[in-house]
Subunit: 302 residues, 3 copies
């Protein structure tokens, strides 16, 4: 494991070891010392939240950070190639975290530079550290992953976090419920890829029939822009807003996850219920990213 580009590059064993290490870091059992390392944050597409999570992960282990956020002021403006930009930046760093709107850019960069590369999101393609923190949050709240009933709700067509998560979950024996409007179904090629891995995989148009059986419901935003027809959007949107009423009869161990930002798909009144777990989920990202950084920098054994 030299880079972390796609969740699909990881074996089940590697995923489990990362989750185990994150747990030890969270509990304080292990505190890797990254004080001699420099992490470069190379975000061609800015993201305060993801940047903060990586920066906090690195700095809290003593590591140092250089930040490039947006291509402004960089040599890209002077006509420099992406390859030259990242090769030069890699001279100053021991590891780099890349975010780009261009699918495949982090993979390409990992083939050019001599240091480990972490993909922090490339277009609508991959965001593997998000998936690892999602899996960590599922296991942390339920004590296990295999054997659970998990619903994924919202925009399953365009959501990069959803695509990654489905591949991540495919290592585990979970019952998977894909709940979305017709227009925003999970792409058929993904279903084709993973369907044999799940004991149950079912597409639904509403949460109503299944929610009371779920252990985890992973909610994502439905963006108005995805609908060519605004009327179409108005028609479906209310079926995908989670209210206190929706949760009336859920199981006691039921938890709602969300990659954030949320707009209005989970009502604010739910935040104070024991079912809301999205903000703790964000916090879990620190431990998972610390585990990944420590592994890639070879400060702990995978």
């Amino acid at each position: 494991m030299k880079h972390l580009i796609s969740i699909r590059d990881l074996s089940k064993e590697e995923i489990l070891k990362i989750l185990k290490l994150a747990k030890k870091i969270e509990s304080g059992e292990i505190k890797p010392d990254l004080s001699k390392y420099m992490m470069g944050i190379i975000f061609f597409e800015p993201s305060t939240r993801t940047r903060f999570s990586f920066e906090a992960a690195m700095k809290r282990l003593g590591g140092k950070v250089l930040v490039m956020s947006g291509a402004k002021g960089s040599s890209v403006e002077k006509g420099e190639s992406l390859a030259d930009t990242v090769t030069t930046i890699s001279q100053y760093c021991d590891i780099i975290v890349v975010r780009s709107s261009i699918e495949g850019a982090p993979r390409y960069i990992s083939e050019i530079v001599d240091i480990p590369v972490i993909n922090a999101g490339d277009g609508s393609n991959q965001h593997p550290t998000q998936t690892l923190l999602d899996l960590y949050s599922i296991e942390k709240t339920q004590g296990k992953i295999s054997g659970l009933k998990i619903g994924i709700v919202g925009d399953l067509k365009y959501g990069r976090a959803v695509h990654s998560l489905v591949y991540g979950l495919s290592h585990f024996s979970v019952e998977l419920y894909l709940i979305s409007p017709e227009q925003l179904r999970l792409p058929a090629y993904i279903i084709e890829d993973v369907k044999d891995n799940f004991p149950v995989i079912e597409e639904l148009s509403s949460v109503d029939s299944i929610i009371n059986q779920l252990d985890i419901m992973y909610v994502t935003r439905i963006q108005r822009e995805r609908f060519p027809d605004l009327e179409e959007y108005e028609k479906v949107k209310n079926s995908y807003i989670i209210s206190k009423d929706t949760l009336r009869d859920v199981k006691s161990n039921f938890k709602i996850l969300h990659p954030l930002p949320r707009v209005n798909e989970i009502e604010v009144s739910i935040d104070m219920t024991p079912f809301a777990y999205y903000f703790q989920q964000a916090k879990n990202g620190i431990y998972v990213r610390q585990a990944i950084l420590s592994i890639l920098l070879k400060e702990v054994e995978l």
Copy 2:
């Protein structure tokens, strides 16, 4: 003292303890260790100067810092609520420093998040760390606050630093002279609030009659934009420009303070005189902010 939102939340005893701690930090008698803490700078309205002062304060005590400057690239652009943005960011931090153009935003945020919040300026409302460093600078140069004659000059109507300072000074027995053009007088409700606290409080239209009696003169910018009538502005502006000539007969302990930036209201030739104290005043901000951070993070007793 869980947050620092307004100078009006502080008792005289709390103010005195902060000043005392800042003094011990400046002298080196105390050096709090903040190395295990992460400070989030959440500046919806960018300010290099205030950011540098907080960053320097935190980093020089070993603390770590995450910076969001401006809302660009943040999830606010994706329609996320302020509450969600700060709740998420608070997962990564132990304390946050907020600056916003919206009055009341820091108070609102302090009611949402679980960690201490410092107001670093909200519109024309409050900027309490500025007031504390102003009081610190007054006491440091004069050896006391009570018993002094203090003039405040310039835009008393819109200046948030001035409003805060008047409330801050109201804990002390000072003679207060409010010197401004008619159009830029201190709001009546503030005078009403504090007038019983000062042995003398007087409004003047010129510094001439009082300057030779003053111990401290606090000068602020008069912004042309405040005047509907440009001719009006041209008429008054020269009465509020401090020149070497203005200072001919001031007391030997006399000091000029200014929250900065200065435009032209203090002539540059004064910078080299012993009366100019505005740049040292800026430096004092570090010790005062270190004291506040240490108190709110419970690394020293208030």
Copy 3:
């Protein structure tokens, strides 16, 4: 040596001592401890690459960094003078690194503030740390500077790195070949200044006749915008693109340097040859800047 503003301020002895210290830092023989210092990066003109190099240099020695990149959000926008801006910022720092599009700005700033100032590029004037890392790279690859045959290729008229380098090399007994189109010759006043210092100084229009004798070839970008006539540009540009073919018969110790960013003046296929040294050259910048910071902060003797 209180500031570093221009390579011309340095004696040969000072240059040699900086290179020697950089070598000891690179080898690990010396590791200055800058943990009690704060470096202010004041880049009125943003530059990710130069910023990263200075930040990495400082942080890897334990130092702390404040960054202002671009004048946005700074008090310059409120009408504050440059003098006031840097005086205020200098209250928070122990050393500042300045980049500006205005020639002479770093010198002016060094005369105002009480702390050391490093020029990180002022317009097309000076960039002394670039020259020091260029000299370091020459010595590191060749074991010496005096006695070498060095070609400088490309835009010799406007290139600030080139101007500085010529002055830097003028302390050493090198044969200097200035290779450029007619329109982009080194300014006559520079040649006048230095010509007596070089045993050979020759202007050429092509690399062909000399390249096989060179030890070092320093290549710079030719910017299309420099040519009033596009046809003129099209005519010359190909003579200044270095291809594998160009390098067919070069000496075995031959190295290509480039201040970067490169656009197309060195073909990418050369990157993998032993002649390409530009990315290592960028890395050398860290050790050289660490040496300079350590000297100016008086943590090592010059």
